[in-house]
Every structure is written in structure tokens, then in C-alpha cells.
């Protein structure tokens, strides 16, 4: 398959590209979803194709073709170069690429149990079983569960000599119970909203124990209908790990993308409140805030051997004791900013242009435990599991809703609260981080649905987090 990528690169070079690279990609996916004891989706998909990127002057040209012959791949390279050349109608400064090691390599994510070899009947039985079990609780209207698997082989070739094969296996799933009231719906999800996905095999699904959580979800969803509303006030806010992972994704992960900082995403995803001259000095949060972008974490969803430019995976410090020290970058953006390339450029299959994406952008564990956090909180709210998320185009003004909350009074969890929301401004919020749980409660949460780019691309990213407390946060925003 390297030959297809090589032909594409040769086609681009012959057509005048100063640099070219290509990815031949074979992807298999399987998704099974059940609702109320019925399988409502069983999809298996497969795709094969080549995407080739050609650099001429200030612009990338990119062309993709499915199921190609060598000749098709070569023509795709020629077309990519022609597209890049057309960009000269509206030119910018010539684009340079930061130097990276030129490697020939083979890499595979760790996985124990091939998810595609697990009998379909076993998967279906599990999903039907848990969705049926959720319905056994009076008041539950919808019990839903799904699992999904990706098996991706990528062959990367560049005009500088890269030849890298990677085999990435990703697995996971999720389940939720919904109770419906007169004018509201209440939902509880496990392991997190939209499911938990990791690099790994079917062992990921087994580890999260769907059957063991069915009754709890159902009971909590029904109980929420009768719970008190989360009051509107400023108070100590304790976040469960998966919600803090999404908070990190939205208010740190996207803000540190160098393409956003450089204005390349201004019209769609937006820009960033961060300014490069302040790198190394800007105060992002409290002393407890340490964030890394680590594509080498075993099992995390944003883990790989090489990014889609052939740059080796690495761990990069992003926030060091509250100080902003790093960005997410690729070869072109790093060269423009005068920074080392971070190996964070990825694409969604063969048909999309590689762009800066999060790897595993996570908050490192702290010195406390969840138990300590609760016991040391006199008044506050504990919120768990995301339900809504919104943040502005500079990644400053955010508002999140969670599925469930509990009041904290005198160091103890008290009454359940529904419709909890909280809002804030990114650096002010992170400056209020004052208690952070440790490694024992640190989980590599996965986000399988991160959208960015035009045409839209969906990335799989990881965000390690443990529960944490933030002081004086505005909660209970009402519509």
C-alpha cells in the first residue's frame, strides 16, 4: 500500500510541488446501538483511499480519491499540485515547514481483544440486556446503549523520505437512561455523555461494566424529575472527572491550537484569547494547574506513534503550575511561530487535509482525593456528567450544563439537584482551581466527536482528568 502513497507524492512533485505527502488509509468501523431492548443500528463500514497534500508557495493543495489504482493515486497528486497553484490568485507569504526526523517506522496501539473478532451476538446480547434492564425502573422512558470500534491502517509517505505504517485500534461505548416529565427530560449516562472511547480493544467495553451500572442510571434519571432545581448563586464547584475533561478540551485544548492563534480558523472555529508574545508568561490558572499534550499515553484516545505529517508522538508541556508554556502545532504553524513542531497534525480519514488537532490534552493529577475535596467544602455544588457545552470563538466565555448535581453542606454530599449549569471566563475560572484529586482517580477520558475544519473533520481526542474544586463559580444559570 506504500506504493499508492508513493505514486501520489510522485505525481504532486512532477506537477511542481515543492513538498508533498500522502496517506493511504484503510478503515473499518462497527457501530451497534440498542434502545429499549431493540437493536436500532448495526452498521459495518469500510473505506480505502489516498489523500495527497502538495505545497506550492503559500498554500496547501489537497486531493483525495477512494479505492485508487496507482495511476489514480498519481493523478490525485497532480490534481493536488494544480489546486495549490490556483491558490496563487490570492497569495500569502511562502509557507515553510519545520524540520522533523525523517523516519521509516511501524507502530501499533496496544490492544488485547480484537473488537471485530468478538461475536456479534455477544455484543448485541449485552446491549439488549442493559437497555432492557434500565426500563425495569418505573419512570424510565428510554434506555439506550451503544458500542463502536475503529480499526485504521495508515501508510504515510513524504517527499522527504518518510515511510510510516500505523495500526490504530479504538473501542468504546456508552449508555444512558432518560426519564420524561411534563415539561422536561432528565438523563443519566455512563461512563460519560456520548460514551467513553480509548485506544484499545474490546477490553475497554468490558472494563466499564455496562450491566453493573444500568440500575443506578435508571434510578438517578427518575429521581432527577423530582429533585430540586440547582439554585442560582456563586459557590464552590466540584466537578466530576469527565466533566472536567470536557472543560479542559473546550477552554484549554482548543485555545492552545496554534492554527487558531495564527488566525487560520478565524471564520469558523474561531481564534484564541491567547497571544503568542505572552507564551511563557501568561497566567492560565492556579498553581495546581498543570496541563500536558501527551500523544504517548497508553490507552488514551488521542494516542498514536506519529502524527499525519510523520512527526513522532511526544509529550509537550502546555500549562506549568498555572503558567501558559506550550501550544498544539504542526510543521507549518510551528515554523511560522518559531516554535518546535509538536506532532499534533491529524486528519479524519484519507479524504481530509491534515490540520492541528488535540492529542491527549489533560490536567495532571493533584495532591487531594475526591473524599478530601468534599470533606473540605463547607458549601458548594458537585456536578457530574456533561449535558450541554458552549464557549465563545476565543475560548473565553463558557457555559456548561451537567446531568446531575448534589449539594455539598458541611463537608458532606446532600440533596440531589437537577438542571445544574455553571458559567465563567477561562483564565478566571482556572485561577479558582483550589483542590485537585490525585492519580488514583485520574482517568484518560476520550472525546470521539471533536469537530473542526472546513470541510468538517471529526477527531478522536483524549483528556485525562480527576475530580477538582473551583472556588466562587456562578452556578444555576436559568433560561
Amino acid at each position: 500500500v506504500f506504493d499508492l502513497a508513493t505514486a501520489a507524492v510522485e505525481g504532486a512533485l512532477a506537477a511542481g510541488a515543492a513538498y508533498a505527502d500522502a496517506r493511504a488509509v484503510h478503515t473499518r468501523t462497527e457501530v451497534v446501538e440498542a434502545q429499549n431492548g431493540r437493536v436500532q443500528q448495526l452498521d459495518r463500514a469500510e473505506s480505502v483511499g489516498v489523500g495527497v497534500r502538495a505545497l506550492i508557495g503559500s498554500s496547501w493543495g489537497f486531493h483525495a480519491v477512494g479505492d485508487p489504482s496507482d495511476a489514480d493515486a498519481r493523478r490525485a497528486g497532480e490534481t493536488a499540485a494544480a489546486i495549490a497553484r490556483a491558490s496563487a490568485h490570492v497569495p500569502g507569504d511562502p509557507l515553510r515547514l519545520a524540520d522533523v526526523p525523517v523516519e521509516e517506522a511501524d507502530y501499533e496501539t496496544a490492544h488485547t481483544e480484537d473488537p471485530f473478532s468478538v461475536p456479534l451476538a455477544e455484543k448485541v446480547d449485552m446491549l439488549i440486556g442493559v437497555t432492557t434492564a434500565m426500563l425495569e425502573t418505573d419512570g424510565v422512558a428510554i434506555g439506550r446503549a451503544s458500542i463502536g470500534f475503529w480499526d485504521t491502517n495508515k501508510w504515510f509517505v513524504s517527499s522527504q523520505g518518510h515511510r510510516i505504517h500505523q495500526h490504530i485500534v479504538e473501542s468504546g461505548g456508552g449508555m444512558d437512561a432518560t426519564a420524561i416529565g411534563e415539561q422536561e427530560t432528565q438523563r443519566r449516562s455512563h461512563p460519560q455523555a456520548f460514551g467513553q472511547f480509548e485506544t484499545g480493544g474490546y477490553e475497554v467495553v468490558r472494563r466499564w461494566d455496562f450491566p453493573g451500572n444500568a440500575a443506578r442510571l435508571a434510578e438517578e434519571a427518575v429521581a432527577l424529575l423530582g429533585a430540586d432545581e440547582c439554585p442560582e448563586m456563586e459557590t464552590s464547584l466540584v466537578l466530576e472527572g469527565s466533566q472536567l475533561a470536557l472543560q479542559t478540551h473546550e477552554s484549554v485544548g482548543h485555545a492552545i491550537e496554534l492554527d487558531r492563534i495564527l488566525g487560520w480558523e478565524a471564520a469558523f472555529a474561531g481564534t484564541s484569547h491567547l497571544e503568542l508574545p505572552k507564551l511563557g508568561e501568561h497566567r492560565y490558572g492556579s498553581e495546581l494547574m498543570n496541563v500536558t499534550a501527551d500523544a504517548t499515553l497508553p490507552g488514551a484516545l488521542g494516542t498514536f506513534g506519529y502524527d499525519d505529517e510523520g512527526t513522532p508522538a511526544q509529550r509537550v508541556d502546555i500549562v506549568d503550575h498555572g503558567r501558559w508554556v506550550g501550544v498544539l502545532s504542526g510543521r507549518d504553524s510551528a515554523a511560522l511561530a518559531g516554535l518546535p513542531p509538536g506532532g499534533m497534525v491529524r486528519c479524519d480519514g484519507y479524504g481530509r487535509l491534515p490540520m492541528v488537532r488535540m492529542t491527549n490534552v489533560g490536567l495532571l493529577p493533584g495532591p487531594n482525593s475526591f473524599e478530601e475535596i468534599i470533606s473540605e467544602t463547607k458549601h458548594g455544588i458537585y456536578m457530574a456528567t456533561n449535558r450541554s457545552w458552549s464557549i465563545d470563538d476565543r475560548r473565553l466565555n463558557f457555559q456548561f450544563g451537567c446531568e446531575i448535581a448534589w449539594e455539598i453542606a458541611d463537608g458532606k454530599l446532600g440533596r440531589m439537584l437537577k438542571n445544574p449549569t455553571y458559567t465563567g471566563i477561562t483564565p478566571q475560572f482556572w485561577a479558582q482551581l483550589d483542590l485537585l484529586a490525585g492519580e488514583d482517580e485520574w482517568v484518560h477520558w476520550g472525546t470521539p466527536n471533536c469537530g473542526k475544519g472546513q470541510p468538517m473533520q471529526v477527531a478522536h481526542t483524549g483528556h485525562s482528568a480527576s475530580p477538582a474544586r473551583f472556588a466562587e463559580v456562578r452556578v444555576g444559570v436559568k433560561g
Partner: protein, 442 residues
């Protein structure tokens, strides 16, 4: 092979071993993207998508591929049959669509299907030039595709469609203005006009002031109305969500102001896409709201069977799990000049677009989001200053409730919701109140 030939061949390969339906989409899309006033990303793709769904006595499975060789198609059919056989019987399997002709509409422009990258670059150049030195960013996209459907009940359909879009912003320090145009024809997409509107909004947005959160009367431009319409469609006028009790929709109830009428119509001559769905059901014009009264929802074959009605032709690859969604929405315009919408406001806000909207509860339709690329203070019927972006938390249904829509503009057009182009035609609206819950500083 032509897409219809592939679809028919797949159905034949399944033969009498199962019910089968195949959808094949083949086409080309290209997108020229610019930022900091130059083209930085420029892409094209030749794509083929083949989807086969089989049902063996109610045991249902779907297989998808982009491989169309004879061997690959045969393997696809065999695998689909095999995995379907491992499924439990779905007692509510609604069966295949019977043969029926699709509406005779052709949303296709041959010139748009073959637009070259130089022409897209020229449109971008015109957009950028209209900014007169401001920083421009956005994209110009063209696409064309042929879609074919075949099933073992004898249904055969084929259609084609094109789309062209230019969308972008111009930026000054502290402000940005946006503009958008979408059509079946690239020739209708005027980069210079879009660039001029974006530049005007950016200039007028300079030096914005902070205002206190609270409830304000607002005039919302077509882009913001389009976002409202998408939320109503995705979470509300969705046959599955209605059946599950998660939707606000109550057919026959006066849930909206009499100024609000909404239809979904893939058969309209100016619509985009092909006039049939992935189950082979011809698309129908569906009334969703008639002068404030909720009429109904859209259906695929499953939700239609459960509701005791017929499919409206709104099945999609996502409808099995999420439910059918209206994607050719037309929000009725009024007869008020857009400038007069503003002139009627004593004190309020003008909002060009909403950004990053997310629903808190589908039943109440409470949504949070922000304003972006053009927020202005209206005083005494005139725009008096630009305003920094605001966060809102607002029920979209309540915002359009009886008595809450003060006027509808005569400026209905394709508007870009934050969920992509080509989904909604909408006018500007003047609304009695909108609940802003946070300013730029929280």
C-alpha cells in the same frame, strides 16, 4: 458503473435471500479556504459512498463502503446478509418503500459541478478585495453529486444536485462582520457582494461597548433565525423525538406566534439535494407550523408506521438512531423591510449570527449560545453602537410564542445556520424578548 447500476447490482446480489435497499452517492466536492486574506487551504475530493441495508425476516443490518469493484460489492452483500442473520428479529421493521416516482425536480447546474479551483480563487479574491485591507477569512465551496436508490420491492430512483457557497468574515481589531450566500448555481454566488456586506458589518462593529445582561427586544438576521429553525427541527419536528415524548411538538396547538409558518420542502425548485431519501421514499412538502399552529413532524418509514401515518421522505443515515430531521426548512418571510424591523425598536439589540448553541433540554427547547460577528445596540429605532458578544440562555419555542414575534422581514434567503449551509431559508425577525445571561466578561 453508474450509481444506479451499482445499486441495482447490489440488490440483485442479495436476491431473494433478504429484503434489500441500496443507496449510492457519487460526486466531487471542492473547498477553497482563506484566512488572513490569503488562500491557505484548498482541497478537492472524488467520493463514492455505497450503503446496503438488508432485512431477513426483520433481522436488519447495514454495510457501507467506498469500494465498487465486483468482488467488493459481492463481499458487501454477503457480509450484510451474514450479520443480519445474527440479529434478533425487529418486530417493528417497517419494510421497504414501494415503487413510486420522485418529484420531477432537478437541483443541478452543470457548470457548478465542474467549477475549477481558479474560479473559486477568483470568488475569494473578490471577497477579500471588498474588505479594502481588512483581514478576510472564510471559504468558497462547490459540489456536485449523483444519488441513486434501488430496493428489492422494485423502487428505482436517481437524481443529481449541485451546491455553491461563499461564506466569510472581515475583521478589524475588536470586531468582525460576516456574510453568506448559497445556491444551486456557482454563478449566483457573488464574492464581491458578500465581502462588501461582511466589511460593512465589521466597520460598524468597531469599538464595541459592554452592556448589562438581561432581557432585550431583538432583531435577528436570517443566519440567527436559521439556527433557531435547526434546533426546532432536530429536537422538535422529528418523528422519533415526538414518539418518545422528548419533543415540544403538540400537533394542533398554537405554540407559535401567528407570524410563524414553517415548511420543509425538498421539492421546491430552489432547494438543494435530491427529492428522495435513503429509504427510497419520494420527498414531500411538509407543513410543520401554519400561522402559529403546530401541524406535525417529519417521518421515516419506522416513525411513520408507529405514528399511523406515511413516511414524508426524511430518512437519513442518522435517522435510525436520532430520528428523521427536516433539512430543507423554509421559514416564511413577512412584508417588512429589514430596516423597518430595526426602526420599530425603541431599545434593543440587532444580532447577525448566533454561535456555539447547545440545547439544555429538548422538551423545553432551552438553548445557550452566544452572539457573533455583528451585535448592535438599537436605540430610538436606530443602531447607535456596536456591542460585545453576549451569552444567552433562552427557550427557542418561547421566543417565538404567541405575541412574541413582532414582525417578519421581507428578506428571506438561504442563511447559514451554525450547523452548515443549505439547510434553511429564513427571514429576519423582530422578537419581543431574548434572555441574555452573560456579557463579554461573564
Amino acid at each position: 458503473m453508474k450509481p444506479l447500476d451499482i445499486a441495482v447490482r447490489l440488490v440483485d446480489m442479495v436476491g431473494d435471500r433478504a429484503e434489500a435497499e441500496a443507496t449510492v452517492v457519487s460526486g466531487h466536492s471542492a473547498l477553497t479556504r482563506f484566512a488572513n486574506s490569503f488562500i491557505h487551504q484548498n482541497v478537492g475530493e472524488d467520493h463514492l459512498g455505497v450503503t446496503l441495508r438488508v432485512a431477513q425476516g426483520g433481522r436488519v443490518a447495514t454495510r457501507t463502503t467506498n469500494l465498487a469493484g465486483a468482488g467488493a460489492l459481492a463481499a458487501l452483500a454477503e457480509d450484510a446478509i451474514e450479520i443480519a442473520g445474527l440479529q434478533p428479529v425487529d418486530e417493528s421493521w417497517p419494510g421497504l418503500a414501494p415503487p413510486a416516482p420522485a418529484p420531477e425536480v432537478d437541483h443541478y447546474d452543470a457548470a457548478t459541478a465542474v467549477v475549477d479551483p481558479e474560479s473559486r480563487a477568483d470568488a475569494v479574491a473578490a471577497f477579500v478585495a471588498a474588505g479594502d485591507g481588512m483581514r478576510g477569512a472564510g471559504y468558497c465551496e462547490t459540489s456536485g453529486a449523483e444519488t441513486a436508490f434501488a430496493n428489492s420491492a422494485g423502487q428505482r430512483l436517481s437524481g443529481r444536485a449541485t451546491r455553491a457557497t461563499i461564506d466569510g468574515i472581515h475583521q478589524l481589531p475588536g470586531s468582525a462582520g460576516s456574510a453568506h450566500a448559497t445556491s444551486q448555481r456557482f454563478g449566483d454566488v457573488d464574492g464581491a457582494a458578500a465581502g462588501a456586506l461582511a466589511a460593512d458589518r465589521a466597520r460598524r462593529g468597531a469599538d464595541p461597548v459592554d452592556i448589562d445582561p438581561g432581557e432585550y427586544e431583538i432583531v435577528v438576521a436570517p443566519e440567527a433565525v436559521a439556527t433557531i429553525a435547526v434546533f426546532l427541527a432536530v429536537y422538535g419536528f422529528n418523528g422519533k423525538q415526538v414518539a418518545e415524548g422528548q419533543s415540544f411538538v403538540e400537533p394542533g396547538a398554537c405554540q407559535f406566534d401567528p407570524a410563524i409558518s414553517i415548511v420543509d420542502d425538498a421539492t421546491d425548485p430552489s432547494s438543494l439535494g435530491v427529492p428522495f431519501d435513503v429509504e427510497g421514499t419520494p420527498a414531500a412538502r411538509v407543513e410543520l407550523v401554519r400561522q402559529g399552529t403546530t401541524v406535525g413532524a417529519v417521518h421515516d418509514r419506522r416513525t411513520a408506521a408507529e405514528a399511523g401515518t406515511v413516511s414524508t421522505g426524511h430518512a437519513s443515515p442518522l435517522s435510525a438512531t436520532w430520528g428523521p430531521v427536516a433539512a430543507d426548512l423554509i421559514v416564511a418571510g413577512g412584508d417588512t423591510d429589514p430596516a423597518d424591523l430595526i426602526a420599530g425598536v425603541e431599545r434593543g439589540l440587532y444580532v447577525a449570527t448566533f454561535n456555539y448553541c447547545r440545547i439544555l433540554d429538548p422538551k423545553s427547547q432551552v438553548v445557550t449560545g452566544l452572539t457573533r460577528n455583528g451585535t448592535f445596540l438599537i436605540e430610538g429605532g436606530e443602531i447607535t453602537s456596536a456591542v460585545t458578544n453576549l451569552r444567552f440562555t433562552q427557550s427557542f419555542v418561547e421566543a417565538l410564542a404567541p405575541g412574541r414575534v413582532l414582525a417578519a422581514g421581507a428578506d428571506q434567503r438561504y442563511a447559514d445556520s451554525e450547523f452548515g449551509p443549505g439547510l434553511v431559508r429564513a427571514p429576519s425577525l423582530r422578537l419581543a424578548g431574548w434572555n441574555f445571561t452573560g456579557g463579554a466578561s461573564g
